[in-house]
Symmetry: C2
Subunit: 151 residues, 2 copies
């Protein structure tokens, strides 16, 4: 019942890209250093993101990553599911064959409802919103600095 590390890194990566959407291409190492993750691991994650059509990658010297769509067109859910697969709180939702009793199971419906709710929440947030909020938070923090360095 938790997000994998790879999923978390994927989010950090695209969030960084969204926050620097004005720049064309951003190198893997820069992203990894800024968002605090292993650069090699990010490479793996990025490949999956590219396959899912969320980012595009340029190889070779001066290569790097960039968003394949506009930040306001990428939902958080899409990023997560590109890495960790579609969200299914309980297996029986995904694989009907995994349990015989689902035709009468009252719990099954709860899982279905919970899953819809969760995917809805994550699907309703775009990278554009997240990046904007993040920038605001950072700005707020630097403005605060003279008053309260301890934060």
């Amino acid at each position: 019942m938790r997000l994998t590390r790879a999923g978390e890194y994927a989010i950090r990566c695209v969030l960084y890209l969204a926050m620097h959407h004005d720049r064309e291409l951003i190198g893997r190492k820069e992203i990894a250093a800024a968002m605090d993750m292993p650069a090699q691991f990010l490479g793996k994650v990025a490949q999956q993101l590219a396959k899912a059509g969320i980012i595009s990658i340029r190889q070779g010297s001066q290569g790097g990553y960039e968003l394949a769509k506009r930040p306001q067109d990428i939902a958080l859910l899409a990023v997560i599911e590109a890495i960790d697969g579609e969200i299914f709180l309980n297996d029986c939702i995904h694989r009907p064959h995994s349990c015989d009793r689902q035709t009468i199971c009252s719990v099954h419906q709860i899982w279905d409802k919970a899953r819809r709710q969760l995917r809805n929440t994550l699907g309703g947030v775009t990278l554009a919103e997240l990046a904007a909020r993040e920038k605001r938070a950072c700005a707020g923090r630097s403005r605060e600095q003279p008053h309260a360095l301890q934060g």
Copy 2:
């Protein structure tokens, strides 16, 4: 992002107990057979449920399990969390130390919201409701049988 097998078994176990709440004590093997799970494994799960105060266990000959509270006082969430631990979609929610950027992280808040929503949904359903719905579904199905054996 999924329920463990142990959690699923725990739910099945307490659901069975709730559906037979009129009987005093029910043997482990009977529950395991009826709800289709390994009896040994159920033993492990039951111990945790007992520690969490959800069921009580009687040892010795003619021993077995029973609900420690009324079905309407046991939420689905409690059963799940007794086995799999408190639900945290993302580690940073649980362990603040696991990520430095959470003070400014816009994604953090989304996880927090999603988690609250999920726990709310699962916390709002009691065993009494589930058992009642399950019984109704079974009754409905047996009434249907003469008409459509294929289901």
